[in-house]
C-alpha cells in the first residue's frame, strides 16, 4: 500500500520502455561478461556463464560412498550419470547444508558442481571485472578475478582450475586438451 496508483505505474513502465530505445544497443561481446552470482557455503561468489553448460535446481543426487569427501554423489542428466562435487568443499569452506543448485561445467569428462544459492544472473561491463588471481596457494588458486557489483565485490570461481582440482582428487589423468 504505497499509495501508488495504477496510472503512475503504467506511466513509469511506459517511460522505462521508451528509454530503453534511447539507450545504445547492448552487445554480448568483448565489452561485457555474463556471470552467475551464487552463494557457496554461505559466501558470495560469481561464476562465468561461458564456463557452464547448464544450471539445475533440486536435481536428485544419489549419494556415493567414496573416499573423496567433496564428491557428493552422482546425478542423472539426460540418461548420463554425472559426478557431483560440493563447490564449498572444493573452495575449502564446506557447510553441513546440502547445496540445492547444480552447474554442469564445460569440458570433459562430465562434471557438475553443487552450490547453495543462485542470487542472480547478470551481464557486467568487462571493466567491472578485476582480473588476477586471488592468492597463489590454498583455495584461492581456484578463484580468478573479482567482479564489482552494487551488493559488494564477488570473487569469480575459475571453473577449469576447479576441474583440475577434481581431476586430481579423483586420481584422473588431466586431459591436456582441457583448457576452457
Amino acid at each position: 500500500m504505497t499509495g501508488r496508483t495504477v496510472a503512475e505505474r503504467v506511466n513509469r513502465l511506459r517511460t522505462d520502455f521508451d528509454r530503453s530505445f534511447a539507450e545504445p544497443a547492448r552487445t554480448v561481446g568483448a565489452d561485457s561478461v555474463e556471470l552467475l552470482a551464487i552463494g557457496v557455503g554461505g559466501r558470495p561468489y560469481a561464476l562465468r556463464l561461458s564456463q557452464a553448460s547448464g544450471v539445475h535446481p533440486d536435481r536428485a543426487v544419489t549419494a556415493l560412498p567414496t573416499p573423496v569427501p567433496a564428491l557428493l554423489g552422482v546425478a542423472g542428466f539426460a540418461g548420463a550419470v554425472v559426478p557431483v562435487y560440493d563447490l564449498a568443499a572444493l573452495l575449502g569452506h564446506p557447510i553441513p547444508e546440502r547445496p540445492r543448485w547444480l552447474v554442469l561445467t564445460t569440458g570433459a569428462p562430465p562434471l557438475a558442481l553443487a552450490f547453495h544459492r543462485l542470487d542472480h544472473h547478470l551481464r557486467v561491463p568487462v571493466v567491472d571485472v578485476v582480473e588476477g588471481s586471488i592468492g597463489d596457494a590454498g583455495p584461492g588458486t581456484y578463484l580468478q578475478g573479482l567482479v564489482r557489483l552494487p551488493d559488494g565485490n564477488r570473487p569469480i570461481v575459475d571453473v577449469p582450475a576447479t576441474r583440475a582440482l577434481v581431476h586430481q582428487l579423483a586420481g584422473h589423468q588431466p586431459d591436456p586438451k582441457e583448457t576452457s
Binding site: 544419489t62 556415493l64 539426460a78 540418461g79 581431476h167 579423483a170
Partner: protein, 711 residues
C-alpha cells in the same frame, strides 16, 4: 532427424532382409535342398518388392537376378553348381553394399561406384596400418576381403536409441511434479482427517455440520489421492518398463556377427580349396555394439587365418586320421562381468618350429638362452615381438590376425590367450570386460538410501525382528542354513555422511553367495526386483569397492549397484579374515607383490586385485621380486613360474629361506598344469597354486583372501 526421409523404414527392412539373405546363402551352401531355396526366394522377393516401392532400382534388379538363379532349384535336391553359388554370393555382396550405402550418412565424399562393393564395405578399420595377409604365398590368389554384410552390428540404431532414451528420461522428469503432487494429496488427506478427528472430539454441537463437511472432505481427498497415486504409479511403471526394454536394445545379440565370420570362413575355404564347416555358439548373448563391432573385426582375420593356415588340405587330414572336412568353431560366452570370444580350429596348429627358428634368427632369444617353451613362443607372437615381421608372417602366417586381436584387447581393456597343439589345432581367445551389463537386480533400502544387489548373487532373504537384527549387528553373524554367516548392516557401508532420515532400522537380511563363501547384509526393506542395465561409474567418481556400477532409474536418477565381492571383502575386513578369529576390525591387508615377466599378466593381475580392493606392487622378474620383498612388507607374493633368471619355484624357496620373509604367503600362477609341477610348488613352500589355463579370477581372489597378511 529425417521425419520425411522416405528411406528410413526401407533401410531397416532392407538391412534385416540382407542379413537373412546372407545367412540363407551360407545355409544353402552347406545344406542344399528345396527348403532353403524357397526361403531365400521369399526373402529376395520381398526385398525386390520393397526396393521397387522406394525406387531403389539397383537393389531391385539384383534381387531379381538372385531370384532367377534360384527359381530352377525350387524343387529337387540337386545342389547348385559352384558357379551359381558364386554368383549368388556376388549378388548378395552387391545388395549388401547397396544397402550399406543407403545407411551411410549423406556422403561426405562421393560414394564408391556400386561395381566395387568390396572396396566400399571392405575391411573393418581395426588395423589400418597392417596389410592383409597378402604376402602369404598361397596356391590360389587371395580373394578380395569379404565385404561385411552387416555394417557393424547395431550401428544404425544407436543414435535412435539414445534419442528414445532421452525422450523417456524427459517424460519421466516431467512426471516429477505429478509424483510430488501425490505426496501433497496424501498430506492434505491426512490433515483433513486429523481436522475431522479433532472436530469429532470437540465439545460444541455447533460444529456438527462443519464436522460432517470435514469428514466428507477427508473422504473425498482420500479417494482422490488414491486414484491419483494409482494412476501415477501405473504410468511410472509403464515408463520404467519401456525404458528397461529400450536400454536392453542397446545390447546386440552376439549372433549378429556370426554371418560375417561364417562368410569369411566360406570365402577363405573356397579360395583355398578346403572343405570347412563353421560352427558357432552363443548367438543369444547380448552385449554393447561398441564391443561386438571391434571383436567381429578382429576375429574376421582370425577365422580366415584358421582356414588358410590352420586347416590342412584334405589328403593330409585323412592321413592324419581327421575328418576330411575341417571345423572352425566360434563361440561367445558370458562369464560374470566378462565376455569371452573364442575361435578354435581342428587344423595343424601353429608352426612352432618355424617360429622358434625365426625368433632365434632375429636375435629375440639370446644365444645362451635355453630354447623357449612353446608357451613363450606363442606369447611372442601374441605380444607383437615377432608378429609384424613379414618373414615370420610368411612362416607362421598368423601375425596380422594376432595384431588385430591384440589391438582390440588393448582398446577394450581385455586379454588375449592363444593355445596351440601341433597336429590338433589352435585356439585364440579374447576376454573383454562388459561395460553395459543387463541383469535383474534386487532393490534394497538401507539407512535412507536405495541400492541394487545383482539377483544372481542372492541366495536368500530373511526377515529379522528388531531383537534378531540387534543380535546380528552386535555379533556380526547370522544363522543361515545351519551355519553362521558374517553379517554386515548395509547402512554402515553405504553411509555417506548424510543425516539419515528416521528409518525403521534393519528389518531383513539378504544372504549373498560370493567366492569367499556366504555372507549376509542387513537392510531396512526389500523393494522388489527389476530388470536393469548396469553401467560403469563415471570418470571423476571414485567409489568404495562395494559399489560395482550404476543404473539409471526411470526418473533419470542414478541408482547404485552393489558388488557382492566388494561387500565380501568389506565384511571380511571388518571381521578379520578366515575362520572367525576376530582380528582387529580395522586390519587392512598389506599390499600384494605381483611377480611376472609378462606385462599383460602383470596388468591383468593388478586390475583383478585392485578391483578387489588390494594394493598392488609389481616386479618384472624374480630378482626384482626378491629385492622388493626384502625392502618392504607385503601381505602376499603372487608369482609366475616361468621367468628368465630366478623362476617362481626358486623365488618361493628363497623367500622361505629368508627369516625376515619366511612368513609371507606365496601363490604361484602358471600355465603348467601337471601334478609334478604342483608338487614342486608345494615342496618349494608355495601356499597355493593356480593354473593359468583354467585361470579363474575368483579362485585366485579366494586364495588371496584366505592367505593375505593384514597389518
Amino acid at each position: 532427424m529425417g521425419g520425411r526421409d522416405p528411406l528410413r523404414y526401407f533401410r531397416l527392412e532392407a538391412r534385416e532382409l540382407v542379413d537373412q539373405i546372407s545367412a540363407g546363402v551360407l545355409d544353402l551352401d552347406q545344406r542344399p535342398g528345396p527348403e532353403p531355396v524357397g526361403r531365400l526366394l521369399r526373402v529376395a522377393h520381398t526385398l525386390k518388392g520393397a526396393a521397387r516401392v522406394v525406387k531403389q532400382k539397383e537393389i531391385a534388379d539384383r534381387a531379381h537376378a538372385f531370384e532367377d538363379i534360384l527359381v530352377p532349384h525350387r524343387s529337387g535336391d540337386a545342389p547348385l553348381a559352384a558357379e551359381e553359388m558364386r554368383e549368388l554370393l556376388r549378388l548378395n555382396d552387391e545388395i549388401a553394399a547397396q544397402v550399406a550405402l543407403l545407411e551411410a550418412p549423406p556422403p561426405p565424399e562421393a560414394p564408391e561406384p556400386p561395381e566395387q562393393p568390396a572396396a566400399a564395405a571392405g575391411e573393418p578399420a581395426v588395423r589400418p596400418a597392417a596389410p592383409d595377409p597378402a604376402p602369404v604365398p598361397v596356391s590360389a590368389p587371395q580373394p578380395p576381403p569379404a565385404p561385411e554384410p552387416l555394417s557393424g552390428p547395431g550401428r544404425a540404431t544407436t543414435s535412435d536409441l539414445d534419442e528414445l532414451l532421452d525422450a523417456i528420461g524427459e517424460t519421466n522428469a516431467q512426471m516429477m511434479p505429478l509424483r510430488d503432487g501425490c505426496g501433497t494429496m496424501e498430506r492434505l488427506h491426512r490433515s483433513a482427517e486429523a481436522l475431522s478427528d479433532q472436530l469429532r472430539a470437540g465439545r460444541s454441537a455447533v460444529d456438527g455440520p462443519v464436522r460432517v463437511s470435514a469428514e466428507r472432505l477427508a473422504a473425498e481427498l482420500g479417494s482422490a489421492s488414491r486414484r491419483f497415486t494409482d494412476a501415477v504409479d501405473q504410468i511410472v511403471r509403464g515408463l520404467d518398463d519401456v525404458r528397461a526394454k529400450a536400454e536392453g536394445l542397446r545390447l546386440v545379440p552376439a549372433g549378429s556377427i556370426f554371418t560375417t565370420l561364417r562368410r569369411a570362413v566360406r570365402d577363405a575355404a573356397d579360395a583355398e580349396g578346403r572343405r570347412v564347416r563353421f560352427v558357432s555358439r552363443g548367438a543369444d548373448i547380448r552385449m554393447g555394439a561398441h564391443l561386438l563391432s571391434p571383436a567381429s573385426g578382429a576375429f574376421l582375420h582370425v577365422v580366415r587365418n584358421a582356414v588358410v593356415h590352420g586347416i590342412e588340405p584334405e589328403p593330409e587330414r585323412l592321413t592324419a586320421g581327421k575328418p576330411a572336412e575341417g571345423t572352425v568353431t566360434f563361440e561367445v560366452e558370458r562369464r560374470g562381468r566378462w565376455a569371452l570370444f573364442r575361435c578354435s580350429d581342428d587344423g595343424r596348429g601353429f608352426d612352432l618350429a618355424a617360429l622358434r627358428r625365426t625368433a632365434q634368427e632375429r636375435g629375440m632369444l639370446g644365444p645362451g638362452d635355453p630354447p623357449p617353451a612353446d608357451r613363450e613362443l606363442l606369447d611372442l607372437v601374441l605380444h607383437g615381438g615377432i608378429s609384424t615381421s613379414p618373414k615370420v608372417t610368411e612362416v607362421a602366417g598368423r601375425g596380422i590376425g594376432m595384431d588385430a586381436v591384440r589391438d582390440v584387447a588393448a582398446q577394450l581393456h581385455g586379454e588375449v590367450r592363444v593355445r596351440s597343439t601341433p597336429g590338433e589345432g589352435a585356439t585364440v581367445e579374447l576376454v573383454i570386460p562388459l561395460t553395459l551389463l543387463s541383469m535383474t537386480g534386487l532393490m534394497v533400502e538401507a539407512g535412507g538410501a536405495t541400492a541394487t544387489v545383482p539377483l544372481d548373487a542372492v541366495r536368500g532373504c530373511l526377515r529379522l525382528s528388531a531383537a534378531e537384527a540387534a543380535t546380528a549387528t552386535s555379533s556380526g553373524r547370522i544363522l543361515y542354513d545351519g551355519s553362521a554367516a558374517p553379517f554386515l548392516p548395509l547402512a554402515e557401508v553405504l553411509y555417506t555422511g548424510d543425516t539419515v532420515p528416521d528409518v525403521p532400522g534393519t528389518g531383513a537380511a539378504v544372504v549373498l553367495n560370493c567366492t569367499a563363501g556366504t555372507l549376509a547384509i542387513g537392510v531396512d526393506r526389500l523393494c522388489g526386483t527389476s530388470a536393469l542395465v548396469a553401467r560403469p561409474l563415471p570418470d571423476l567418481a571414485p567409489a568404495s569397492p562395494i559399489i560395482s556400477s550404476v543404473s539409471v532409474e526411470a526418473d533419470g536418477r542414478p541408482r547404485l549397484v552393489l558388488d557382492p565381492e566388494g561387500l565380501a571383502t568389506e565384511v571380511l575386513r571388518r571381521h578379520g579374515s578366515g575362520a572367525g578369529t576376530a582380528a582387529s576390525p580395522a586390519a587392512e591387508p598389506l599390499p600384494v607383490l605381483v611377480v611376472d615377466d609378462s606385462l599383460t599378466t602383470r596388468m591383468l593381475e593388478r586390475s583383478i586385485l585392485e578391483s578387489a580392493g588390494y594394493q598392488v606392487e609389481l616386479a618384472a622378474s624374480g630378482e626384482e621380486g626378491l629385492e622388493k620383498a626384502r625392502a618392504s612388507r607385503y601381505g602376499l607374493v603372487l608369482s609366475d613360474i616361468d621367468m628368465p633368471g630366478i623362476d617362481g619355484f626358486t623365488l618361493v624357496e628363497r623367500i622361505r629361506a629368508d627369516p625376515e620373509l619366511s612368513g609371507v604367503p606365496c601363490v604361484l600362477v602358471s600355465s603348467r598344469a601337471g601334478a609334478e609341477d604342483r608338487e614342486r610348488g608345494r615342496s618349494a613352500g608355495a601356499d597355493a597354486y593356480v593354473v593359468k589355463g583354467e585361470f579363474d579370477q575368483e579362485e585366485l581372489l579366494a586364495h588371496i583372501r584366505r592367505l593375505v597378511v593384514r597389518s
